[in-house]
């Protein structure tokens, strides 16, 4: 395959703080009417003397086209999904631009969450309709959308667990949450933040913790199990129903982190497996854009038994109109208002565009193309996969290792990542900490990338493997076709050198 010539746009764009000239401006506000001025006097007198700004603001002064051009340049110096992005665990999907256009209209963008319910019937109806779709997919009894990301939905769960055990007077004894080392870090992290003690089960030879290990961890102190399945190595824990039974028998709750839903959409239902609660990431699985890390939504669903504890408010429908309701048992709020409404509208639209057959087919395609990809990738010199002992098909992702390549050539997974962007391939996901396999990488093709896209991605990796064995320096010194060269990481944790703002940089670096 002939690889395309590619070079990222390079503008040598200065920082906005270095642009412009005194007196320029990009926006003016309507002058305050004379009558207001006459009635009120000057603004400065409306501020208590001690509260007035004394220092002059040092902000850039630019004209409107200068601002526009500056940020257009920055956008062009961002690869995003302009090339091919197979970022594992994030399920890269097409983000409908029609949805972007619709949600930017005033009926969505210019609504206030505290408006009277009768003036938000459209938004509330979409929330309710989408709730029903997620119920059908998961078997849960109710969903809420307040959580502003997948990790925030894990936070909803641990807060809900506190509320649930609190009303039963069991908080003092139910202090442990069990998870696996392969579960997303947000699960142990939110559990610890909520004040639970975290028990992390290690992986065993089959790629998941043993049921014996779970049994040993479960006790009357168990509040909950928080788990992904499949994990991001593409391994499905076939004992999960037993696990849930064991945790339930001990009186604990079970939460399904559905970050890896793409491989099992229409194949399993969280509730039928026995889970009490689950979450879906609308900015991943349901086609809302990533935006570089949000705005996002972790849709949180649970059983009727747990529903009274959900964050408030939730949307109710009386057959005629939609209204907001809260219960006395509610855990309260994890974030202000109802959730990131535009992302929910986009996710609803995605589900409607796909339909039941389309959603099921998407998981078929995700698993098919991953296994297609796996076969080809394993033919590349230096590439192996996690748990080589495991035979059979993986789910929608496979964890690979470049440990062999690294041993042979000194080229690391990070080097390869930096070299792939020279071909317009967005960085792959490596693996969450801790790495179980040396030099890991985790592509996920999902349903949106064509076979040609995936073939191209594979061809680029093959080319880089060849480079690693023939001319490793070109990989180690990559990238060569991007707006800047490789960033040096040595100073990033040094208080004398780090600078998260321009003013810190100027002070520390004496310029």
């Amino acid at each position: 395959m002939t690889l395309r010539r590619y070079h990222g746009a390079t503008w040598d764009e200065p920082l906005v703080m270095q642009l412009g000239a005194p007196g320029r401006r990009a926006l003016r506000f309507a002058p305050v009417e004379r009558e207001i001025h006459n009635a009120i006097g000057s603004a400065i007198n409306l501020i208590p003397a001690g509260a007035r700004r004394r220092s002059r603001l040092v902000l850039p002064e630019l004209s409107e086209p200068e601002v526009l051009r500056h940020y257009l340049h920055l956008s062009q110096q961002t690869l995003g999904m302009m090339g091919i992005s197979l970022f594992g665990t994030c399920t890269m999907k097409y983000n409908s631009r029609m949805c972007e256009a619709v949600t930017s209209r005033p009926q969505s963008a210019e609504t206030h969450p505290a408006q009277p319910e009768e003036t938000l019937q459209g938004s509330l109806e979409i929330l309710r309709r989408f709730d029903l779709i997620l119920r059908a997919l998961s078997g849960m009894d109710q969903f809420v959308f307040q959580a502003a990301g997948g990790a925030d939905a894990a936070w909803v769960f641990v807060c809900l667990a506190r509320a649930f055990f609190g009303t039963r007077g069991q908080l003092a004894e139910r202090k442990e949450i069990i998870t696996s080392i392969q579960a997303h870090p947000c699960n142990p992290a939110t559990a610890a933040t909520a004040g639970f003690n975290v028990i992390t089960l290690p992986l065993e030879a089959n790629g998941y913790p043993s049921t014996d290990a779970l049994r040993a961890a479960v006790s009357q102190q168990t509040a909950a199990l928080m788990i992904n399945n499949p994990d991001d190595m593409g391994v499905y824990n076939p004992n999960i129903k037993d696990w849930i039974r064991i945790v339930h028998e001990a009186g604990g709750l079970c939460f399904y982190d559905h970050a890896n839903f793409n491989g099992v959409m229409g194949k399993v239902r969280a509730r039928e497996l026995g889970f009490d609660a689950c979450m879906f990431m609308l900015h991943k699985t349901f086609g809302a854009p990533k935006g570089g890390g949000g705005p996002a939504v972790g849709a949180f669903g649970c059983t009727a038994e747990l529903a009274p504890f959900l964050p408030a408010p939730s949307v109710a429908f009386d057959g005629r109109s939609y209204r907001l309701q809260s219960t006395g048992a509610s855990l309260g709020k994890v974030r202000e208002y109802l959730g990131n409404i535009p992302q929910i509208i986009k996710a609803y639209a995605w589900a409607r565009a796909m339909g039941a057959a389309g959603i099921t087919e998407a998981s078929d395609l995700s698993v098919l193309i991953n296994n297609y990809m796996e076969k080809k990738l394993l033919e590349i010199r230096g590439v192996t996969r996690s748990h080589p002992n495991l035979r059979g098909w993986r789910m929608e992702m496979t964890r690979y290792s470049l440990g062999q390549l690294y041993e042979d050539t000194g080229v690391s997974a990070a080097d390869v990542q930096q070299r792939m962007v020279d071909f317009g391939i967005d960085a792959y996901w490596m693996a969450h900490e801790p790495w179980h396999f040396p030099q890991p990488f985790t592509p996920e093709a999902g349903e949106m990338w064509s076979k040609e896209d995936v073939d191209y991605w594979i061809a680029v990796l093959r080319r880089i493997s060849e480079e690693a064995y023939s001319n490793p320096e070109i990989v180690k010194s990559a990238p060569h076709c991007q707006p800047i060269h490789r960033v040096r990481t040595e100073g990033l944790d040094d208080p004398e050198r780090w600078a998260t703002t321009w003013r810190a940089y100027l002070r520390k670096h004496g310029q």
């Binding site: 920082l15 409306l46 202000e336 698993v367 296994n371 703002t501």
Partner: protein, 481 residues
């Protein structure tokens, strides 16, 4: 056009692949199955035991296959909303209608920003630079050198900041104003935990003076002087009631004398005219990014920030990702990288600082654009405009017989309006205003019963004199009715 056999009118062509799924074609699937030697699609799911599979078919509403129909469907649903462009709105209280420049929308709508996920520091350099410019310009407004990447919301930022302070001081008692937005308080309570759990933080409310709406400094001092040592005092200016705290330096002194951290919540659009929090001794500053170039989106426009002095004791407690300027392998070239990644939940799981994840990063870019459009003059003009317009509203409202504006000066953007003298309720007033196509202020009578029948009115740079006069006329009408 060459002649060909026209299809019969009722004959549909093969629909082809789904527009979002290039391989949703029988041939494409068969070819891939053949190339891996799998007998069927179903065989690929062999890892899932049979008794795990769905017990009943997935039934969803019918797919809407054309973009035009789907768009029409969404627009039909959304047409049941009434927006704040159609009605005149005085709602605020944590989500505000400011002008969003078209350039902000253009930039955050760019596909590169919209679809970026993580990238490398070279290939997503432009996005990283935009984030750095967000932190840098916000730092200028606050007078602080350290700013983390954004969090979910103001309430979440306050929750994290209180936890940071508790870890720094090893103390477990925090003081929060009683006049705080109830939504934020509920979020903070969740962040601070429950007494039966490990390491709970006790949240205690500091009263406000009824006559002024300001923080009660005597009550603050009493609480600082007795009980368990205080980790942090959280104060907002402007407060939820819109009041500008006049004595922040003295409050900071009292807080620091007690060995506590001083956390301040601000509305960033006020900082063109109000003192930078660093100037009066704030240690950690939090607030909302939504007013900085982001539409309300029914609450979906929210974002939060955490900032502090650039000292290791603060830096080492941030739960957020921290983007730092950095050198590249080429001398003189500047890039950006993540600082202190190991202390995040990505680096340390349950041993990390709280947790982080997807947040509101796209909105940080909107805010960077917004701040660079306003510059120093724009922020000053914006602040002045809001001050004058909101005080004009207070003056006009107070002239109405039966309407009381308890704190008629020294506020920013938001003010309380009380209708107790009318013997009627805010619910009743808001119903009448709605008929006049006005969204009245947020009803506070449930959350703050001791304020009586009061509502929180928000006036921004978008409210003209005519808008305010229209509100006044509608309220007069209600009083007459």
């Amino acid at each position: 056009m060459p002649e060909r056999d026209a299809p019969l009118a009722d004959e549909q062509p093969h629909p082809g692949a789904h527009p979002f799924m290039p391989s949703s074609l029988p041939d494409a699937k068969a070819a891939m199955l053949a190339s891996i030697g799998a007998p069927s699609l179903d065989a690929l799911f062999e890892q899932i035991p049979a008794d795990h599979r769905c017990t009943r078919p997935l039934v969803l509403p019918d797919a809407i296959t054309s973009e035009a129909e789907l768009r029409a469907h969404l627009l039909e649903l959304l047409s049941k909303n009434i927006s704040c462009e159609e009605n005149l709105s005085f709602l605020g209280g944590g989500c505000w209608r400011h002008y969003v420049p078209a350039v902000c929308d253009e930039i955050v709508g760019r596909s590169e920003f919209l679809t970026s996920v993580w990238g490398t520091s070279s290939s997503d350099h432009g996005r990283n630079q935009a984030w750095f410019e967000f932190c840098s310009q916000l730092g200028e407004l606050l007078g602080l050198e350290m700013v983390g990447l954004p969090v979910y919301s103001w309430g979440c930022a306050a929750g994290h900041a209180l936890r940071m302070a508790s870890r720094m001081t090893q103390r477990r008692r925090v003081l929060v104003p009683r006049s705080i937005c109830p939504e934020r308080l509920s979020i903070i309570r969740n962040y601070c935990g429950l007494p039966q759990m490990s390491d709970p933080i006790c949240v205690e409310l500091v009263d406000f003076e009824r006559h002024s709406g300001l923080l009660s400094v005597p009550d603050l001092k009493t609480r600082l002087g007795g009980g368990d040592p205080v980790a942090a005092v959280y104060v907002e200016t402007p407060s939820f009631f819109g009041r500008i705290e006049p004595g922040m330096s003295a409050i900071a002194q009292a807080v620091h004398d007690a060995g506590a951290e001083f956390i301040v919540g601000v509305d960033p659009v006020s900082l063109g005219v109000l003192a930078a929090p660093a100037e009066y001794g704030a240690d950690i500053v939090v607030g909302s990014t939504q007013p900085l170039g982001i539409h309300m989106h029914g609450g979906g426009g929210l974002g939060g920030f955490i900032a502090s002095r650039d000292e290791p004791r603060y830096a080492h407690e941030y739960p957020t990702l921290m983007l730092s300027i950095a050198e590249t392998t080429v001398p003189g070239e500047i890039g950006f990288g993540m600082s202190l990644m190991h202390q995040s939940s990505y680096g340390s799981r349950d041993k990390g600082k709280d947790w982080t994840g997807n947040s509101t990063y796209l909105w940080a870019i909107a805010s960077a654009v917004y701040m660079s459009m306003l510059g120093p003059t724009g922020f000053q003009e914006l602040g002045n405009s809001i001050l004058q317009r909101s005080h004009y509203a207070a003056k006009r409202l107070a002239e109405i017989e039966g309407i009381h504006v308890p704190y008629a000066s020294g506020f920013f953007k938001e003010l309380l309006v009380n209708v107790d003298e009318t013997g009627r309720t805010i619910t009743d007033l808001n119903r009448a205003l709605l008929r006049a196509r006005i969204f009245g202020g947020q009803d506070l009578s449930e959350a703050f019963p001791d304020l009586g029948q009061s509502a929180l009115y928000c006036i921004t740079e978008l409210h003209t004199r005519a808008d305010i006069d229209r509100l006044v006329a509608a309220i007069r009408e209600w009083i007459r009715a």
